[in-house]
């Protein structure tokens, strides 16, 4: 057996500078890890660039950098998240995702066993979604200059004819639909950070939503807006749409699904679930007359089982998102300044 045939030791090894050096170590890592797990006809061409034909129609392209601590959390890891996150950004344009690319920045000393776990998780997520990772890149940075691993993924998709989805299309009178409970991802991440040691079974909702979107568009091609409420949660996403369209929104707090354990964790930590991140939920704005039909379609899909009508678009020159509280009053649901910080007492 010559030297090139030896496999990288995934059980005991760790990333070192040679893995990014362009030499034999890098070639082995690419062969034994990335190609082995992510194999598909386009990637297997082995070129620096993926070569493929594209279908007719409008294309969408989206890129997303993934940095997360911890790398592994209940319900997913940075690998599955990097696949789902970008795929969802493509899907929110109403597109069918076609291909993904992945760029890795690895920190020297990062265990190869963890890296393999992450790549396998990406492979699984891409496979389940039916969207191959067709090209990639690896760089290594010195110890202390990264946080284990950063992954940037880019997604390419095609938008079906007749579908025009954009935040500016929000109009007063439209219905606001939400595909399920909010806050699961953010609370799952928080609960697995070491300084919290918060025992819980809350799992991240990280999931690819493109098949749900396809079902929805099939039923109602005239959907106005689709968004996935990730960072900043439901509140930030609705505010972005309101600002883009110059309309207000009026939500009904009682209609917004929040799982009891997520609500309890937020209560304890002094967080508001409206601002907590999701990775497997979408918001949909549609004509009020289409709302019931869309809800029925969403509820038939596993990622939309708890879909709900949570409010309506209203006229408001200040583009404020307001909410009728479950208590019977009303409040503004504002942007967050930065990260949500827990209160002191």
């Amino acid at each position: 057996m010559n030297k090139m045939d030896e496999t990288v030791s995934f059980r005991t090894g760790s990333v070192d500078m040679t893995h990014g050096g362009g030499g034999r170590a890098m070639a082995e890592l690419i062969r034994d890890l990335f190609h082995r797990h992510l194999s598909n006809p386009i990637l297997d061409q082995g070129h620096d660039a993926a070569l493929f034909g594209v279908p007719a129609g409008r294309l969408v392209l989206s890129t997303d950098g993934h940095v997360i601590s911890p790398l592994f959390f209940p319900g997913g890891d940075i690998g599955s998240l990097a696949v789902h996150g970008t795929m969802n950004d493509v899907a929110m344009a109403g597109a069918r995702p076609l291909y993904l690319t992945a760029g890795f920045i690895l920190e020297e000393g990062f265990p190869l066993a963890d890296l393999e776990r992450i790549v396998m998780s990406m492979a699984r997520a891409a496979d389940e979604a039916g969207v191959p990772i067709v090209t990639g890149d690896t760089k290594v940075v010195e110890k202390g200059k990264g946080d284990g691993v950063f992954i940037t993924t880019t997604g390419l998709g095609v938008v079906p004819d007749g579908v025009h989805i954009a935040a500016e299309k929000a109009r007063p009178g439209q219905a606001i639909l939400l595909s399920g409970s909010i806050g699961d991802h953010g609370v799952a991440i928080l609960s697995s950070r070491e300084n919290l040691e918060f025992e819980t079974v809350i799992r991240s909702d990280s999931a690819a939503l493109h098949t749900l979107v396809a079902d929805m568009i099939h039923e109602v091609p005239g959907i106005s807006v689709l968004r996935d409420p990730t960072r900043g949660g439901l509140a930030a996403t609705l505010n972005e749409i309101a600002r883009a369209a110059g309309t207000g929104m009026l939500l009904d707090e009682a209609a917004i699904p929040v799982k009891p354990d997520v609500a309890a964790a937020c209560e304890l930590l002094g967080l508001d679930p409206l601002y907590v991140a999701n990775e497997g939920k979408l918001i949909c704005l549609c004509e009020a007359a289409d709302a019931e039909r869309l809800l029925a379609v969403m509820r038939r899909h596993p990622h939309g089982a708890d879909a709900a009508l949570i409010g309506e678009v209203v006229e408001d020159d200040n583009a404020l998102v307001r909410m009728r509280t479950g208590f019977g009053g009303q409040r503004v649901v504002d942007w967050l300044a930065g990260e949500q910080l827990p209160r002191i007492c």
């Binding site: 919290l196 009728r324 300044a337 930065g338 007492c345």
Partner: protein
Amino acid sequence: MKYVDEFRDRDLAATLAKAIRKEADPARHYYLMEFCGGHTHAIFRYGVQDLMPDNVTFVHGPGCPVCVLPVRRLDDAVELAERHNVILCTYGDMMRVPGTKQRSLIRAKADGADVRMIYSTADALKIARDNPDREVVFFAIGFETTTPPTAVAIRQAEAEGLSNFSVFCNHVLTPAAIGHVLGSPDPRDLEKVRIDGFLGPSHVSAVIGSKPYEAGAELYRKPVVIAGFEPLDVMQSVLMLIRQINEGRYEVENQYTRVVTREGNRKAQDLVASVLELRREFEWRGLGSVPDSGLKIRERYAAFDAEKKFEVSAKVSREVKSCECPAILRGAKKPTDCKLFGTVCTPESPMGSCMVSSEGACAAYWSYGRFRTPAKAEEAVA
């Protein structure tokens, strides 16, 4: 959520709202100060004001621990983190409060200082254990509610021999501040601050009981109701206050009977007293120097006192001119009276502490309540 949703029940709220409307005398106005930022937060978050008749006004008090900390003390904390190369542990709210020249802990962290956000004093102890070759300082702020954990941390550090752990103590006391608001009003506020009664913070009273308010209520003839933090608690407490006012009573009543007793938690009080003692005076943002209103670490535990361990201060601390936080904290002005509000001062770039904490009156107005006064906010921008 069991045991929580019961206190946020819409139908009960409607019933209480009706009772308040019936009790409130339409011929007069009721100005009720919610001392604590937690109440301010609850009032806005649940839309409690919407359920009140027009003649009931909430006056926001100085009970936001982040808001009342004077810039000088924050500057000291920043200096500890920057100059003394310590690991500074702080509760999250404190991170973005601007000090002199807008310097905050989050800025210091971005520039390389080791500032860590923690959820409890136990986290700070753990950091001290894990970093035996570094000095770890816990930035202790808060009212009586947060004093027992600080006391426990210091005793624990001593028991474990954690000589690299110390506390920068900024704890303040509620009854002294309420007494100060009533007894030594700022001359600028005369005729401006009107308070008919107080909603007392129940988490504070879970520790100190309701008794410490009795002398003040009697002296200043103002009723106090120790109020829970759930929205129904707030509404029931409002009803109790209005009844007292209508009947000419000025007693300390306890709405939060499910936790608070007249005597409070003796064990916690003894624990705090064993580690912390009264400062002769402590400076409050907005209130100025208030006698017997702060706590410091007893001489016996001097080894864990960051103020003794490190040399800080000597700089000139400055607040932003024309920031009305002080008057807002005294209840003399509303956030919308400040010309910085919503113009140069927003949660994204806060000029004063009241805009930072979600318990601060300005942040609460901005985040939850500004649609009530959109015309005013726009006027200021123009």
